[in-house]
Symmetry: C2
Subunit: 687 residues, 2 copies
């Protein structure tokens, strides 16, 4: 029996475990009528958004799949028809995982609030289980998708490993496309609703957050789900499969380092490690859902550490067994795991309200909002140091042990516990929603305090999750670049050429410059989109306040659905241009500056994309928590001038941390994948 059987078993077990968790959560009480009504409205809005989004995506997927399919008819194109098939499957799998995860999250919010009535541990268990449904769907569908396509094309259709992994990039491209629209569209949705609700509600009318009189309050809750659940899930689904595929591709290079050093089995190793990671993640999940005790943050962190330790042991054993005692790729993998943890902890330090950086921002409120902004920018920029150094060291160590293959497998290592770490991320928005529902349904002070506590920890874990998502995106993209270089050479060498990616070549430097610029432009576009969409929401909320006299007349109800509709239509409209930019730029630059310029572009875009993503996420998180720090009674507390100043900081940070920053993860991965998929065409043209 081949050890690779662990892969489909892991995948199936993950899906079964997800099913089990789904029904465990579902059978919990979702509270009284009011809570059911609210939860239902949120679910409806979220599903309506996904449905509209998928309508756009179906068209996009159909067009790209047809183009790939047509290109495969031309022998010169070097594109196999399988890419088109893999692309469609990748898109579908990502969409399914996102859909189930979000359905679960929107079912869990009221149930978490109701569970919290009993105990905070009960609430945690429900919220976390719902997050784990997303986590398990992502890893299950991820490994099953990659594994079955590999079996299909390599074992059944007898294609070479190299060609098979080439086809697999189609799967990654499909996942990327869904991730792009989910992150960008979801990000615009969530922040236009949030900023719109806050600007009129909190700032102008002076009513609290989540006040049911605010017409945008449901749209805001929906946004947490479509942005932070569906968007995050699709983002990490992409990283997860990309890192596995990149490692497989590097192992499949005929005459390459991995195959000559470790033999053919190096191809299957990343899948086996991913499969092992699923079991470790299940154990980690059980630690939380069965955990007793009041220290929620401690439980969550322990679960991550336990899963990490188990994965490390499992992966070490698997490497030893598969590669006949050769352990170098395992050391490379450990480098990735450590880097992931370091980045997560650094993110926590820079954003937590218990630490100096966020407190220094709060402190700057003494001299007004301008210094709050400046201090936040400073904090965000400084926070790039540790993640960059961690990634650089991980890359150098991984490369030292196992060449490019090592870099790729270090990304696999980082992502191997995704099943549980994604649960930790997705728990955040569920807790946030539960808090909103407990507020709106008037569940009393005790419950509200407990959900607030759950929510606060959710913010910290969400920040760590963001750091982790960014770090894994960076290492995955680096792995993809190395695949790009090798793939380009394989296409060029038959024509008697090689890819010269020297910085002494002005085309390469031009590529680096333009690539470095793209994340700035992309950030500007997504941020501008939030601004425009939020403005539409502001107008609507102002209009409804006036029309229904909501602030003075308790009997009138706001029209939540109109706000949900505005967010949906605006987000869909605004996501198109930035998304197309991300897909089209590498192709155009590749055609103009050739494969050399495109290689430079990828490196430049990863460097600044990573930096800006960390900067935006951490500045945004720190602004948010600086406000929370003031709200918890420091510097004059709620309603003080300091509070007003930090609210301005938080509003600036919102699109930074929840739209533009996370979208950059997708940008850097997607551009690498697009470059890989279209490389044969680019070389044919620039030839």
């Amino acid at each position: 029996m081949d050890i690779s059987i662990i892969v489909p078993i892991g995948g199936i077990v993950a899906l079964l475990f997800a099913t089990y968790l789904f029904f465990t959560v579902k059978k919990q009480s979702s509270g009284n009528e009011k809570m059911k009504e609210l939860s239902g409205a949120i679910r409806e809005g979220a599903m309506a958004f996904l449905k509209s989004e998928y309508k756009v995506l179906v068209i996009f997927v159909a067009v790209v799949a047809s183009l790939l399919g047509m290109a495969s008819f031309f022998e010169d194109s070097n594109i196999h028809w399988g890419s088109s098939v893999a692309f469609i499957i990748g898109a579908i799998f990502s969409a399914v995982a996102g859909n189930i995860g979000m359905l679960m999250a929107t079912m869990a919010n009221a149930r978490t609030a109701e569970g919290t009535k009993k105990s905070i541990g009960k609430g945690l268990s429900i919220a976390f289980s719902s997050g784990a449904v997303m986590g398990m769907c992502v890893v299950g569908l991820g490994v099953l998708g990659v594994f079955s396509l590999y079996i299909l094309f390599h074992n059944l259709l007898s294609l070479t490993p190299a060609l098979t992994t080439n086809i697999l990039f189609g799967f990654g491209f499909g996942a990327s496309s869904i991730a792009l629209f989910a992150r960008v569209g979801g990000g615009i949705y969530t922040k236009s609703a949030d900023v719109g609700a806050d600007l009129v509600g909190k700032v102008e009318a002076g009513i609290p957050e989540d006040d049911p009189r605010n017409p945008a309050v449901i749209a805001d809750q929906v946004g947490d789900n479509v942005g932070d659940v569906a968007g995050m899930g699709a983002d990490l689904f992409e990283s997860y499969v990309d890192s596995i595929i990149a490692t497989m591709a590097l192992a499949a290079v005929a005459g390459g380092f991995a195959v000559t050093t470790y033999g053919d089995k190096a191809i299957i190793l990343p899948l086996v490690i991913a499969g092992m990671g699923i079991f470790a993640s299940i154990i980690g999940t059980l630690v939380v859902t069965m955990g007793k005790g009041k220290n929620i943050y401690g439980i969550l962190r322990n679960s991550l550490f336990i899963s990490t330790a188990i994965t490390a042991v499992f992966a070490g054993a698997a490497t030893w067994y598969i590669l006949d005692g050769e352990m170098s790729p395992f050391f490379a993998m450990i480098a990735g795991l450590v880097a992931g943890i370091v980045i997560g902890l650094s993110t926590e330090y820079y954003t937590s309200e218990k630490r100096k950086p966020a407190q220094s921002i709060a402190d700057a409120s003494k001299t007004g909002p301008a210094t709050v902004i400046i201090q936040g920018m400073t904090t965000g920029m400084l926070s790039t140091v540790i993640p960059i150094i961690a990634v650089v060291i991980a890359m150098l160590v991984a490369h030292h042990f196992a060449d490019f293959y090592g870099v790729a497998i270090s990304a696999v290592g980082m992502l191997s516990i995704l099943g549980v770490s994604l649960a930790t991320d997705c728990y955040g928005p569920v807790a946030d929603n539960a808090q909103g529902i407990s507020e709106m349904a008037g569940m009393g002070t005790e419950v509200r305090e407990r959900t607030e506590q759950l929510d606060a920890i959710g913010n910290t874990t969400a920040a760590m999750g963001k750091g982790f998502a960014i770090g894994s995106a960076a290492i995955t993209s680096l792995a993809l670049i190395f695949v790009y270089m090798i793939a380009a050479n394989e296409l060029l060498i038959p024509a008697g050429k090689t890819l010269e990616l020297s910085l002494g070549n002005p085309k390469v430097i031009s590529g680096v410059f333009i690539g470095a610029m793209l994340p700035f432009v992309f950030t500007a576009l997504t941020m501008g989109a939030v601004g425009r969409a939020a403005y539409a929401m502001v107008e609507e909320v102002r209009y409804q306040f006036k029309k229904f006299d909501l602030l003075n007349n308790d009997k009138n109800k706001p029209d939540y659905a109109r706000c949900v509709k505005i967010s949906t239509s605006r987000a869909l409209k605004e996501m198109i241009f930035p998304s197309l930019l991300a897909i089209v730029s590498p192709v155009i630059i590749g055609l103009i500056l050739g494969p050399e310029g495109l290689g430079g572009l990828l490196v430049g875009s990863i460097a600044t994309g990573f930096l800006l993503a960390v900067y935006l996420a951490n500045a945004g998180g720190a602004w948010d928590n600086a406000k929370k720090y003031v709200e918890s009674g420091n510097l004059g507390g709620k309603g003080s001038d300091a509070h007003k100043a930090t609210i301005i900081g938080d509003t600036v940070g919102d699109p930074c941390k929840d739209t533009s920053g996370p979208s950059l993860n997708i940008l850097i991965k997607l551009m690498s994948i697009v470059s890989l998929v279209f490389l044969p065409l680019i070389i044919a043209f620039s030839g």
Copy 2:
């Protein structure tokens, strides 16, 4: 007679012309006693700051010169004793140019205000002449310094051209060091005073800008001089000499492209073009000082265009004559000139209050300060596109015509009209000071309106000047990188190695990542420094308001000198750490990651340094002018909520555009120069 005689003649003529302008300005009336007193206080404060700054610099220069001198005793170090001498001279020349320029500027402020009484043209003529003194000193001392060192070491001491240009980098390093401290220290000074004065004066007490009751008002005026005059002058002195030296060095490479294609004379060509540019600049200056007419902005722009056209003709003729009809380097140079103009115009578009970007920021004030900040960030990020594309195209075109030599000479082209373009930059702060003095001395509405007009145009030209400074820094740094690559190979080849700067080398990518991070860190440090220094100023102003009861009791006078002292001591203290980071990082990374990693670092730091510099400068400029747009009566005008929101934007923008952004110009050039100077050591160690 050799044509190179034009170089010393040009240099001497520039200094004579500067002397003439100096005395022309000096003999103007500096108005009544009050004006003299104010101008004297500003001059005193500015000179006191320079004096203190130079005390720090003397130590720094002595230490570095000694280190270089000692290193030259070790044969292995490959460092010639001349580097140490050149370093000292470079530092002295830069300091002298800055000193004279600032002395002139601080003498011209009251004279400009007084001149404006007669006519706005008279005011313009005085302010511009004073700026031209700085411009002429910079270009005069620049060409004389480089030329005489070249004659000394090459013609008199018979060193090879390659070794001589190597020594010349010491001159560049000396200029860089002064520029670093002038930009960083001056930048921190000016903005801590400005932000400090505004936060308490405008925001808290509600008194107008430049109100004499504000104790920080003189420090604020001093800041304009030490930051925008001395800092800008030192910055461009560095770019100017670096671009010339880089071009000479590329021409001096034995067996290199330039010498084999154009012969030995290619070495002297950049100096001759610079010499020609001096005469063109003098003509451009006369266009302004003798110009009649009311359209001041038109006059300034015409003078730049005329100088550009004349330089192009002169340079074309010189190239044709020196290179015997070979015109390719001339085309490369034109690419640089065009890129400079394009970047300047793009900056004007993105920052002018008459254009959409700044107005859209003002418009965002309808929904409060947060959206003003977001819109400004968006604008700044989008504004990176044109400058990046312009630099990339200029580099590719220049490289196409004349290889790396072409890239270097395109920077020379951009900077050849520095004599007049620097006058346009330095005119801004003088006009700003004149406006302040007219306000404080109560010179009446008519004069104030005129000086306001001068000041407004000064803001636009200053913004253009900043764009130009950034663009020239980027191209100059690129030229230095190419020199670095060639120099490294020359050192490595004898040992049987070559410099492999391939992006397939993880060390190179690591370098790119770390290099890309440094501008973020540097920005955070300089911004944080402004924050801390401004806070000290805020405390002082609040203290004085209270102690002397300044707002209610007209008889009491504030203690301006204390504020000047605070700015001085804080700026000097805060400038040390960022400056050392800039100097030490390339050496440390070079020692750890070798010359490959260092090459990557330089490319990464130029890419993000350039991007961030453009982003910060344009966002800051646009915020400033959005406020001005509201102040001129739009969206409710002065005192409205919109105005308050845009004041917050302006305060955030202040350190962006006047401290962090401009300091990045120095960072990218300095790191290249440091790498070049210490390259032999790095190669010896990483051997």
